[in-house]
Symmetry: C2
Subunit: 419 residues, 2 copies
Amino acid sequence: METTKQLTLRFASIIPYEESDPFPLENIPFGVFVNPNEQEAHCCTRVSSFVIDLALLENDRLIEADNVFRISSLNRFISKGKDYWLYVRKTLQQLLTRDNPNSLTPEQLAKYAFNSSDAKMHLPLKIGHFTDFSSSKNHAQNIAVMFKGKDGSLHNNFVHMPIAYHSRASSIVVSGGQIRRPKGQLRMGEWGATDKLDFELEIGTIIGNANKLGHPVKLQQAEDYIFGYTLLNDWSSRDILLWENVPLGPFNSKNFCTTISPWIITAIALSPFKHPLPPQDPQPLPYLHSPSNFTYHIDLSVSLSTGKTEQTILTSNFKNMYWSPTQQLTHHTVTGCNLQIGDILGSGTVSGKGPRECGSLFELSGGESIVLENGEERKFLHDGDIVTLRGQCKGEGYVIGFGECTGTVIPALDNSEYY
Amino acid sequence: METTKQLTLRFASIIPYEESDPFPLENIPFGVFVNPNEQEAHCCTRVSSFVIDLALLENDRLIEADNVFRISSLNRFISKGKDYWLYVRKTLQQLLTRDNPNSLTPEQLAKYAFNSSDAKMHLPLKIGHFTDFSSSKNHAQNIAVMFKGKDGSLHNNFVHMPIAYHSRASSIVVSGGQIRRPKGQLRMGEWGATDKLDFELEIGTIIGNANKLGHPVKLQQAEDYIFGYTLLNDWSSRDILLWENVPLGPFNSKNFCTTISPWIITAIALSPFKHPLPPQDPQPLPYLHSPSNFTYHIDLSVSLSTGKTEQTILTSNFKNMYWSPTQQLTHHTVTGCNLQIGDILGSGTVSGKGPRECGSLFELSGGESIVLENGEERKFLHDGDIVTLRGQCKGEGYVIGFGECTGTVIPALDNSEYY
Ligand SMILES: [Ca+2]
Ligand SMILES: [Ca+2]
Ligand SMILES: [Mg+2]
Ligand SMILES: [Mg+2]
Ligand code: NI
């Protein structure tokens, strides 16, 4: 590592890293890890390859806190509000910048920082509710073809509102786990392990503020209700989905597992990467209409590891979304639904226009198999496959990385576990 | 009140009540109320018109407990498990039975019991997740006609599995509140207050045990995962539903509010009222098939109060369900979804076959208006209308009542609250 490359645009970090490091001082993501000395879950941030324990910083009064970090979720921290999020971010940046009166000494740093390879990450939130949207026009079009055949067209409400379904919060797990291949009803009268296990590349919006039941969140205020974003893999069973989806939407095909990345990238860290939404036509109703609706320019990719090979099978970008996270949030509350801190809104699969820009294997393969570089083929996921979502924003002289969101498919249970 | 009528079949209560009382000692429902002396939420039971504070009984060591009752939800109590539920039930029955060595003295009773009219009931649970099923064949048929016109037929998956969607837990409220008429997208390009606000008469199944993610609950074990049942009104907006439902199911049309009754009637209290399911044809797949699948014989009714008149507008019975609560529970977990203590499974609207046995106004009116006894008409709910669900099981010499599940419709907010 060359010293000349260590400096980012704005910060000279006491932890050396290169310009391409996903976790520079501009990032300051939040997560929860198991402190290896105390064997206790604490809130943390990350700089380069170091996880920094916020509970220990609080202990030593280096951050003013109200017992919000020695706990296995970020919810209490988030509930302190936006001004406090900014205070903690700024304080961490000062503690970790060189030649600052508050810089940590090397001895202090050694006390608070853990190598990320020694840090077992924990689900960062107590997630009350998980709602999943469909807001990529390309994805919705691809799915319509799956359901209705070649002539399937986008449903006529898609351009009028960000369509969504309530999904299942209890089965959200943190990156790194195993995903059991589900068994269920695959078609009429047919029982078995799903043949069509798929991933969905999504961004999760983390709710940072609660509205009162019966009182919608106006679009102009919606940004104040967002704490940050994660990567989200909405594991899906396409055969179970097709059989159950009409008339009440996805259920068993989605509720068996969803994986999120361990780091929440804050809205403030992402603000330089705001990107205008593509034009919305027709113009949305007034409660969803604003000239300043935005998405983010986030480069996304999915890699597949088969045991024999690992390769990036698709790339996409969050700028491709038709509906913005703020429009999703406002629409969620329009009839009066109350959001709670720690709720997650899935963006919906992020698919671009190109043939390699689909956010799911189903769309990528178009019903055929894709051929990997070593000749292996995949129509859907096999047991043992490892799926990894990645995301990053490229700034001037620095990168805001999302880290990884990964999971390994394991074989279905024996029938004797079911009946 | 005549003394000769005070005695129920099995218990001579220290609190006198008649045979028709919905809360005899055979019932022993559980709820949470605000103790008017301490202004603090405590777990409680009810006998006749008295609410009995379980936290005070624990204080005085009349129930062995582990600090599970001085808290604003039943979740901790429920998490102690089935043997403990039975111990508490039995202990309460003994304390409240006359001529028993453990009977409470009148002075003790005066200390622990509060007149129900002085007791403000609280939401009885911390509800992690709310899933709503569609399991009444009559209701599903009626709804199919709504969506597809006169020739609409039951979707072909209905007889193969208990169809469900994940709904919204945060907007569940306890009986007695106000329901704000929602605004939203009523039709393509049309914004406004819903014209088609409706109720749905349902039974809520309260989950009493958690399964591990990835591990389904077998049908034979499903009963062990149920703590009890409540009345549940799944308030619905039919115009918003029709516009949003395809392709991902109900969302804004359902997530604005759901009301449950304050008392959870335990599975053990209901066990004498088990009723065989109607025949299932075709025979379900093995994971849903059991000759001992059951529902309950629960008489249900809905009354409507318009301010000028109040009348019972429909009656139904839980015995009419096509799928059992245990089949619903097992199906929910089949792909591996983990249920948690305090989750609620809505039965789906309980509609019978007769024209006055529908579980919603929409079905009752069949698109026309119903005419009330005083000549008023209703197609859907008006502002100011009060909807009350009631339920009871008639035993030999006693009744197990569910109490009431009521809510008042209040006018929509002004547009300035939305944009
Ligand atoms: Ca999805
Ligand atoms: Ca319902
Ligand atoms: Mg999922
Ligand atoms: Mg509802
Ligand atoms: Ni009967």
